[in-house]
């Protein structure tokens, strides 16, 4: 009897301590059969008013994609190549034919990104830095879409919610805005967004690539079915 109780409690604890509630899992069929080894990242489209947003995101997405097991082309070198060929605007870069991209970079896939939201806004009660990005991975040999995703992160998730009434909250909001503007919190939050979006350890992230020890293993969402 005691054992049964123990088992029930353990199951309950295990079930309730999972990371988040899960949306439907990605279909990885095309991704898996295309089996890309290398990914070139194109300058993101920017819907925010922050000029630095695309650069911040490009700098922060290298780690989660590389850790997932793919070769990430050096983002700054790639961007410089486009600039030297007269392509400075994301719209123009996204319009380059995939055959041309494949010819120059010999990359298996290209990542097309859009910054949906980036920056700090002072909204009376809370002042948060939010970074939201959506992404599409395209096979440069066939033009097929291999993977799509979107993720968001906010500084509000990490900041402590210390009480102190409305005045305290207003002061905290104003202070947070100062801190977040000065220390470029957006760059830090972009790292969290990128990790959520791309990491093969994230739900609906990339597959484990050929440079990963987990290459060939099911994606995180497929395991949790």
């Amino acid at each position: 009897m005691r054992h049964l109780q123990l088992v029930i409690v353990l199951i309950a604890v295990a079930l309730t301590s999972a990371c988040v509630s899960m949306p439907p899992g990605q279909d990885y069929t095309a991704f898996r059969s295309a089996d890309p080894h290398s990914i070139v990242v194109l300058l993101p489209l920017n819907k925010s008013t922050e000029v630095v947003a695309p650069y911040s995101v490009m700098a922060q997405l290298v780690a989660p994609i590389a850790e997932s097991g793919f070769y990430v082309f050096p983002v700054a070198v790639v961007d410089q190549t486009f600039k030297n060929n007269g392509l400075t605007v994301a719209n123009d870069i996204h319009a380059v034919p995939i055959q041309k991209l494949h010819e120059i970079f010999a990359a298996d896939a290209a990542l097309y990104l859009t910054i949906e939201q980036y920056g700090t806004s002072y909204v009376v009660i809370s002042s948060d830095t939010v970074v939201s990005v959506s992404a599409t991975l395209v096979d440069l040999r066939t033009g097929d879409v291999l993977w799509q995703g979107a993720a968001s992160a906010s500084s509000a998730e990490t900041r402590g919610n210390n009480g102190g009434g409305l005045v305290g909250m207003l002061v905290e909001a104003a202070l947070n805005q100062i801190i977040e503007t000065v220390t470029d919190r957006g760059f830090d939050i972009a790292a969290i967004t990128s990790n959520r979006l791309f990491s093969a350890e994230s739900y609906n992230g990339l597959l484990h690539g050929p440079r990963s020890k987990k290459y060939g293993q099911p994606a995180t969402s497929e395991k949790q079915k």
């Binding site: 604890v13 911040s56 290298v62 590389a66 850790e67 070769y71 990430v72 070198v77 350890e201």
Partner: protein, 116 residues
């Protein structure tokens, strides 16, 4: 009861989000990329020093450097007029990551020592 609590805690921790030890060493590579893009007050020679340090630290930790570090450093050397070091680091990137070979060869053939 105490035993139950301990077991529950253990299960809780084990079934939470696990962190994985990174494969590559990155150091300040993301910051270096960001500085380069922003063209902020960090000079090219300072950026070179930062990346040389990243490579040094990776060696110290016995970890491979992240993809792109040598290529990025090579570009900085080319920009500062040091084509020899630029070529050396492009070749290292190619050796570590053969996926980059065609692209870096394209750049080196095209520039042959000039700015990329």
């Amino acid at each position: 009861m105490r035993v139950l609590f301990v077991i529950c805690s253990a299960v809780f921790f084990l079934s939470g989000c696990k962190t994985v030890e990174p494969t590559y060493y990155y150091g300040a590579y993301p910051e270096a990329i960001y500085s380069y893009f922003k063209a902020d007050e960090t000079s090219i020679s300072q950026q070179i020093m930062i990346l040389e340090q990243v490579i040094e630290q990776a060696r110290g930790k016995g970890k491979p450097v992240a993809p792109g570090v040598h290529a990025h450093l090579g570009m900085l050397y080319f920009e500062s007029g040091n084509a020899e070091q630029g070529t050396t680091h492009f070749e290292q990137e190619k050796a570590l990551f053969p996926e980059s070979a065609a692209y870096l060869d394209f750049l080196m053939n095209k520039t042959a020592g000039e700015k990329i």
